[in-house]
Amino acid sequence: MRDRLLKYFLVFPAIFVVASTAFWPLFQSFYLSFREWKLNRARESRALWEYEYDGLENIAYLFDNYLLALEDDLFWNSVRVTSIFTVTSVLVSVGLALGLALLLAPGGKFRLTVRTLLILPFAMSPALIGVSWRFMFQPDFGLFKAFFDVLIPPLADVDWLGDANLAMIALVGSEVWHWTPYLTLVFIGGLATVPQDAQEAAMIDGANSWRIFCDVTLPSILPVLAVGIVLKTIFSLKMFDQVYMLTNGGPGNATQTLAHYIYFNGFKYYNMGYASAVSYLLVIPMFGLTWLYMKLVFLKR
């Protein structure tokens, strides 16, 4: 059988590309995380631990970058911010998306027209979303000021990005705007697979719509829902562009996510080894979530 060779030949280029553009750099940054590299002092990295000098008893030096991170309040702050951001943005966007999907699923001209709008936010560059939302929150001539001037005057003078909680709400808001429509589309796709006869049977039995939703609809879209939740969680953990453009981590460090913390430590404070170590502290939960995601995706197999 020539196929025996062919099938490996066909996957080889893909494996090669993925290995060199994803695994190689991942390995490299893992290696760097055990080295000291301060761009403000030297062009090359240097070892944190060397057998000849430090001896086996001091092998803990090797983990200096990691230990340093665990001791840093700002690291823990960014862990906290990332968790809050992830949990709220996932809950809000998945919740809203599910509701919208139920509303938009029935079809009809009106609903189909609105559905075509759903793809727009997702196609938009996150960096552009960040910039334009910052513009909308501008306290002297932003959209929100204009909006609240007319509707809720007391809120017109609120400095959205100058308050720790409001800035977080703004950040979550921009992320929800970006993702909810996309998740809605995914869930509408999921709703299309709900068995019609089961729904009708329940209806004939006199079940109300809430019962139908809980007993029939929800169980059958559960896999899609789970995929949506995990996917959104992963992207929330990764999110960088908006926080960089919208709040830049502020006020203070109130919206500094892990990705932002890594970026600043690496490219603003020139501490590359340390930044690599913190990236690995971000990669570890990602591995867990990715595994969970893969489990869910291949649930049916």
Binding site: D163, P251, F264, K268
Partner: protein, 440 residues
């Protein structure tokens, strides 16, 4: 006898050749004879009209030396990362780089010291005000020329101050009371505040004015953080209280950065704005501002507890150690930093048909120049006064990180946080960074 004739003949020839050379001695102490003709230099500079006009004027240099100059203009927001990546790339792709003074130390290991050249060509850094000169130095070596540098001035609305019978504020207390009056009577911000922290540490500008006035330094002699002393904390509290207690700021005081503050002032939404002198022309440029020239006044910075120490900033040009054309780069630096160019660039309002408005000069001679002052409403005189007692941010490689700690602490304090606790906490963290960097 014969010998004498020969000697005198030789010396005649020698002298005449010197005189001959003297006929085409180049200006700005440039090397004659175009030894670097055909070289191409790559320059990385920040986006600003001042440097745009240097680019438009570089034909003079190119025809004098035969060197070609390529400019890359990077917006300020992206500059810090770019400078760092030029250093890491280390491929000589840029011969001359332009950066903010406080990033100098972090990049000093790949910037060429120019002391040798300065001495060789008889150029003295004393042509610059002390703070500017200091801003281009690291560990006793001169790394470059401060070609764009700014003192701070207090801009205010002449019309509104006259309308309410207010006099130009001389102390920060005056600022607070004038700000209150204006906020009450005009309904706009008294002061355009910028407590925002965006990684450029702009909310430290005024903070430094405050703490230096009390004699507090950022670091003590042992390089320990020194801002958390009782007088330093009090100065910080007073700085933050402009917003938290006196409530004289315009909208968005906590999230605004310097640019936002300038727009607020230019759009008539705040009556005072302490900021760099270069902002002046923008404040009455009809494309960006609602104000006319008659409405915009400027004065020296207010004093705190009877003393004024102002913060000054500069953007030096340095030669990269990785450059393959260092001597040619030095020729370029000599031309670029010549006092005549400095002067002309603040007087002429059009360069090769392009409209350029710039009031920034860095030579002491230009600041005292009557022509320059006449063209710019004497803002250079005010600048000289402001620079008489001024200082720059600490010049250490770790400053970006420590500066951000302070910047974030002050932004948090301006949202109503506990100043003392935040500043002490920042001091503790800074000490940890410095100790890791091997200062003690």
């Amino acid at each position: 006898m014969r010998m004498k004739i020969i000697i005198s003949f030789i010396s005649f020839c020698f002298l005449s050749s010197v005189a001959g050379a003297g006929d085409n001695v180049l200006p700005y102490k440039l090397k004659s004879g175009k030894p670097f003709a055909g070289t191409t230099l790559n320059i990385l500079a920040v986006v600003t009209p001042q440097f745009k006009s240097y680019e438009l004027r570089d034909e003079e240099f190119e025809s004098l030396t035969g060197i070609t100059v390529n400019w890359t203009h990077i917006p300020f927001v992206a500059l810090q990362e770019k400078i760092a990546s030029v250093g890491v790339a280390a491929d000589g792709s840029f011969d001359v780089v332009n950066y903010l003074d406080s990033w100098g130390p972090a990049n000093a290991y790949w910037l060429e010291s120019i002391d040798g050249w300065l001495k060789r060509d008889g150029i003295s850094m004393d042509r610059y005000p002390e703070a500017f000169k200091k801003s281009a130095m690291f560990k006793g070596e001169t790394l470059g020329f401060p070609l764009r540098a700014h003192p701070m001035l207090m801009f205010y609305r002449k019309d509104l101050f006259a309308k309410h019978g207010l006099s130009v504020p001389e102390t920060w207390n005056d600022v607070a009371s004038a700000g209150k009056t204006i906020k009450q009577k005009e309904g706009i911000g008294g002061l355009a505040c910028y407590f925002g922290a965006d990684g450029n540490r702009q909310n430290l500008f005024l903070w430094l004015n405050y703490i230096w006035a009390t004699g507090t330094e950022v670091f003590d002699k042992q390089m320990k953080p020194a801002w958390a002393t009782p007088s330093g904390l009090r100065a910080t509290r007073d700085y933050v209280s402009l917003h938290t207690k006196h409530n004289i700021c315009g909208k968005g005081a906590v999230s605004n950065v310097e640019q936002d503050g300038r727009i607020q002032f230019a759009q008539g939404n705040a009556a005072m704005m302490p900021v760099w002198w270069w902002a002046y022309s923008g404040f009455y440029n009809p494309n960006q501002s609602k104000l006319t020239k008659d409405q915009v006044g400027f004065a020296g910075m207010p004093s705190y507890q009877g003393k004024t120490v102002t913060y000054a900033i500069s953007m030096p040009y340095s030669i990269s150690k990785y450059s393959k054309n260092k001597e040619a780069s030095w020729e370029f630096m000599k031309w670029l930093s010549n006092p005549e160019l400095d002067r002309r660039n603040a007087i002429e309002r059009s360069v090769r048909g392009e409209k350029i408005v710039n009031n920034v000069v860095t030579h002491k001679s230009s600041m005292a120049d009557l022509g320059v002052n006449a063209a710019n409403d004497n803002i250079q005189m005010a600048a000289l006064a402001s620079l008489a007692n001024s200082d720059i941010m600490p010049q250490i490689p770790e400053w970006p990180e420590i500066g951000d700690l302070l910047s974030n602490a002050i932004q948090k304090a301006s949202t109503g946080g506990n100043v003392d606790k935040l500043m002490k906490d920042a001091a503790k963290k800074a000490e940890r960074i410095l100790s890791r960097a091997g200062y003690y």
